[in-house]
């Protein structure tokens, strides 16, 4: 196997293993963090399949901005419940 193929297969395995973990975690805050890590793995997958443009967008949006919005929304919703 070429190094490219090894990276591609490894990225596929990691993404495949991480996806159920994100779904099975039931605690919302932990889930947002897991989603962020999963986003990074997806970025590696895109990079391995020669889509660096998409990988860059995925890192910023999928690994940083999306989990941040989820965390902020949950924190706000929880405070509303407490009030």
């Amino acid at each position: 196997m070429t190094p490219d193929a090894i990276l591609q297969h490894a990225a596929l395995v990691f993404v495949g293993a991480a996806a159920p973990v994100v779904v099975l975690i039931r605690k919302p805050v932990s889930q947002a963090i897991a989603l962020s890590l999963y986003g990074l793995l997806l970025a590696v997958l895109f990079f391995a399949y020669q889509a660096p443009d998409v990988a860059l967008a995925q890192i910023v949006v999928g690994a940083v901005l999306l989990p941040l919005m989820i965390l902020l929304t949950m924190a706000r919703a929880r405070r509303q419940e407490e009030e």
Partner: protein
């Protein structure tokens, strides 16, 4: 868990797995490209438009009109969120909230901000040469204020990301994007026709005609849009 539910799920999962395996088995191997469009894009991007990054040429030239609509979708969504989360007349905006960052955290952020901003602008202006472009660079730039917030607290974030500025900059970016398309009409061609000289054959920062211009406009729109989103979400969260 309910046993009946598990059986229904199991049957569905097995059927889905079989269908997926059959489907994946019929896929061509990685790198075996059969459509004509990729070849056409490659023939146009490098040799004709002098843009080494074919993806940049595709997004900001060949399908620039689609990208225009995407810019407006993003602008519209961000504006919608900002309107929903507009400041109401309540006591304060949470800007007095303190940060838990210590001196070491502040030093790291201080060192990272300059590098981050430089890299963000680099990605925006090199869209036609290397992977990236307006969207990626803009989103990256928008995450810098977040770093500043971590070190300095909400007061600093509110100061460097004023509501009016990011709203105006986002609108200006979207408008600029639409206006650059008019150059084609002015030259007697089609909307978004690439009529500006393509620059040096060996891709440089000025190669690609309208590609770097559209990338800049997109960077302004996306960067301001995401910064605005971060600002309104944080403000909503921190409002006492």
């Amino acid at each position: 868990m309910n046993a009946g539910r598990l059986i229904v799920f199991g049957l569905g999962a097995v059927a889905l797995a079989i269908a997926l395996l059959l489907g994946v088995g019929g896929l061509p191997p990685v790198g075996d490209y059969r459509g004509p469009y990729g070849d056409v894009v490659y023939a146009i991007a490098g040799p004709e438009r002098h843009a080494a990054n074919a993806v940049g040429a595709l997004v900001f030239d060949i399908r620039a009109f689609d990208t225009l609509l995407e810019e407006f979708i993003l602008f519209g969504s961000v504006t919608g969120v900002a309107v929903l989360l507009r400041p109401t007349r309540r006591k304060g905006d949470g800007s007095a909230a303190r940060t838990i960052a210590d001196a070491a955290d502040r030093l790291v952020v201080f060192l990272l901000v300059g590098i981050g901003v430089t890299f963000g602008f680099y990605v925006v202006v090199h869209g036609q040469i290397t992977p990236g472009g307006g969207f990626q660079g803009g989103a990256f730039l928008a995450s810098i204020p977040l770093l500043v917030y971590l070190a300095g607290g909400p007061g600093v974030l509110y100061r460097i990301v004023p509501r009016g500025l990011v709203a105006g900059a986002g609108a200006a970016g979207a408008l600029l994007f639409a206006a650059i398309g008019l150059l084609g009409l002015a030259a007697g061609g089609a909307y978004f026709e690439n009529v500006i000289p393509f620059g040096p054959r060996k891709s440089s920062i000025v190669s690609g005609g309208i590609i770097p211009l559209l990338s800049l406009a997109s960077g302004l729109e996306v960067g301001a849009g995401f910064a605005r989103l971060i600002r309104v979400f944080l403000e909503e969260r921190l409002r006492p």
